[in-house]
């Protein structure tokens, strides 16, 4: 199957999925019992004024009509306006996506870079000293509450050791951000040659990225180990031994066969950690999509909540698309599957 056909088929699958996501979020938000009209109209508004606001927002229409209107706008890339910031939601989302991605990708990337080799090594010598230690460490990672980890990091590295800057955003307050290209201050700083900004952005990144790396490494270690153990116990590895293949070759065979499930798991992990990242963003005042989305939920900012969920859904779709493409590359035989 060609990559092109694969993409087309995948997109056809994704559209109904996204439609479902839109519908359910829309209904959930409407039925959540929150009513922003009174807040928008202000404390002194009369009942008539509130009704007027309601009509302006289209909230007086039947629910399904509201959904159709909303859908019609979404198709034209209009996600509505946040009544909190008064900005178009799309703009808010686009501004914040790279901010969160920066945190998430560095964090999970480092978590994977550490977690995968550790998991592999543990699996190749199960119950050895290395395995025991890595299992203990990974258990620690599992049992650490995200929020608490962030606070402890700040306490230790900022307050006690003074090695890290305070957790107050993505750049030192003394500096102004570099011109926006990617949305990551670190990368934009480097591109613009503004090394001072890049350095500050890097320093701000270290602790939150470390938190996410720690939190993501634990399950990555555990899964990589489990997947590899399963491969090593498989019939084909046993039969490879029966064929007298050299240990190095058998190891390579095992790695190749473990790659697909590990990559697939990384995809799950990446999408699953978006929620965790939101908490880390709170602790470090990061101001990314996660923090913004949580705020939207708390304030009952309908359009923003819907935009947030849509962004998450799109993110998952893209991640799994990339995972599938990676699998297609990793597994030559995938092309011959029906």
């Amino acid at each position: 199957m060609s990559v092109g056909r694969f993409l087309v088929r995948r997109l056809l699958l994704v559209l109904p999925l996204l439609l479902g996501v839109l519908f359910f979020t829309f209904m959930l938000v409407r039925l959540s019992g929150q009513d922003p009209t009174a807040k928008i109209a202000g404390p002194t508004a009369t009942a008539a004024e509130i009704e007027l606001v309601r009509a302006q927002l289209g909230l007086d229409q039947p629910l399904f009509t509201q959904f159709l209107i909303y859908l019609g706008r979404v198709v034209q890339a209009d996600l509505g306006r946040s009544w909190v910031s008064q900005q178009p939601v799309l703009q808010d989302v686009l501004e914040r996506v790279p901010v969160t991605l920066e945190l998430l990708l560095w964090g999970v990337g480092i978590g994977a870079l550490v977690g995968i080799p550790v998991g592999l090594r543990a699996a190749f010598r199960p119950d050895g000293a290395f395995d025991q230690i890595s299992r203990f460490v990974s258990l620690l990672g599992f049992s650490t509450p995200t929020y608490w980890l962030g606070l402890v990091m700040l306490l230790v590295f900022f307050y006690l050791l003074d090695l890290a800057p305070p957790g107050m955003g993505r750049l030192s307050l003394m500096l102004s951000p570099p011109p926006r290209i990617t949305g990551s201050y670190l990368i934009d700083g480097v591109i613009a040659g503004d090394l001072e900004a890049a350095h500050s952005a890097f320093a701000q990144l270290v602790l939150p990225v470390l938190c996410i790396a720690i939190i993501s490494a634990a399950p990555i270690i555990k899964q990589t180990r489990a997947i590899t153990l399963e491969v090593l116990a498989s019939d084909y590895i046993r039969y490879a031994r029966a064929q007298g293949l050299e240990p190095a070759m058998i190891r390579r065979m095992a790695l190749r066969n473990a790659a697909t499930p590990v990559v697939t798991f990384l995809g799950t992990e990446l999408t699953g950690l978006v929620g965790t990242t939101a908490l880390i963003e709170y602790v470090f005042a990061w101001g990314g999509l996660g923090q913004w989305g949580l705020n939207a939920i708390i304030t009952g900012d309908f359009a923003a909540v819907q935009g947030y969920v849509l962004a998450l859904a799109l993110f998952s779709v893209i991640v799994f698309l990339l995972v599938d493409l990676a699998v297609l590359l990793l597994e030559p035989r995938a092309g011959t599957r029906a």
């Binding site: 498989s234 019939d235 084909y236 046993r238 039969y239 490879a240 031994r241 029966a242 064929q243 007298g244 293949l245 050299e246 070759m249 065979m253 190749r256 066969n257 597994e331 030559p332 035989r333 011959t336 599957r337």
Partner: protein, 332 residues
């Protein structure tokens, strides 16, 4: 007499592990297995589930994984003791001089390599000097020899594209491509449908005889033994309790267990996965002294508390029972 191809002498394999109280516990899974095999002969290894048939194969091939370990005995392959040999050296023999065919062919092939590549890989692993082109040609020829149609094209197939029967043929090709002297097949046709079973076994026998290979077929199917094997060895609780030429053992079974086995499988002579006589097998952690079949044997007598010696019942036919040959014919 010339050295046999394979001479297994008094092989003991134990599972030695610690339990939760950190006490060492030993499951005595093989308790003195002895048999020998010549080139050009096929030996059938039968016995109820858990008797130690697969474990015998793995012990011979040096494929045991902890906690299983050979604790005593010899495996003389072409006169050299595999048990005493360094593992790397055994690894070089495995897949080359001695090969194995296993029960689940589809899952035993590397899912990510084309079958031609796998055939090339096993050749070059044992003969690094062999060129790619030559190995590929041999691979295709081998696929043809095991009756795979259109071998040129099939060499490019992935394992998941094969049927169970085709996969088993590929496994036989893998086992034979390096021209081994010894071939062990552990339930090679379990899970295949009956006509395919017969085809595979016909092919197996033909190739084994044509190449003068010594082969062991492990099976639950006494019919397979009767049709395809020259000799048979009957296992019980990690020992061979009776062995000899198929006609002699099946014609005049001398050990009560062999008789029970044959009596319980009259039609196609298939030993079911369930116990033949309903009784549990002996506890490998606490084996009785003397005859291990004692608890289930209808003829057990005080003498049976002593280990039974091997009694010769005729040319090459030996039964390990105190009363072998002295039991009434109808008493099975």
């Amino acid at each position: 007499m010339a050295t046999p191809l394979l001479d297994v002498r008094d092989l003991h394999t134990h599972f030695i592990a610690r339990n939760l109280d950190n006490e060492i516990r030993t499951a005595r899974a093989l308790n003195g297995v002895s048999f020998s095999l010549d080139g050009g002969k096929i030996l059938g290894l039968v016995g109820e589930t858990g008797a130690g048939k697969s474990l015998t194969a793995l012990s011979v091939m040096g494929l045991l994984r902890p906690p299983a370990r050979v604790v005593a005995g010899q495996v003389l392959f072409e006169g050299r003791d595999l048990i005493a040999m360094p593992p790397e050296e055994v690894n070089r023999l495995r897949g080359a001089r001695m090969a194995m065919v296993v029960q689940s062919p589809k899952s035993s092939l590397d899912p990510l390599s084309r079958i031609g590549e796998q055939l090339v890989r096993v050749q070059r692993a044992h003969d690094p000097a062999l060129g790619q082109a030559e190995a590929t040609a041999r691979a295709v020829a081998m696929l043809e020899a095991v009756g795979i149609p259109d071998p040129q094209r099939r060499a490019r197939a992935w394992p998941h594209e094969l049927s169970g029967g085709m996969a088993q043929r590929v496994l036989i090709a893998l086992a034979l491509v390096n021209q081994p002297r010894l071939l062990i097949a552990d339930e090679p046709t379990t899970g295949l449908d009956v006509t395919v079973q017969a085809q595979i076994l016909d092919l197996f026998r033909e190739l084994v005889l044509a190449n003068g290979i010594g082969a062991i077929i492990i099976t639950h199917d006494l019919g397979v033994v009767a049709h395809y094997c020259d000799d048979v060895a009957v296992m019980f609780a990690g020992t061979i309790i009776e062995h000899g030429p198929v006609a002699a053992v099946f014609g005049q079974p001398a050990h009560p267990y062999t008789r029970a086995l044959i009596a319980s499988t009259p039609e196609r002579l298939v030993i079911g996965r369930t116990r033949t006589t309903g009784a549990p097998p002996p506890n490998l952690y606490a084996l009785p002294t003397g005859c291990l079949y004692r608890d289930r044997c209808p003829h057990a007598a005080p003498d049976c508390a002593e280990p039974p010696p091997g009694r010769a019942m005729g040319a090459g036919h030996i039964a390990h029972c105190h009363f072998a040959g002295r039991l009434a014919e109808h008493a099975a």
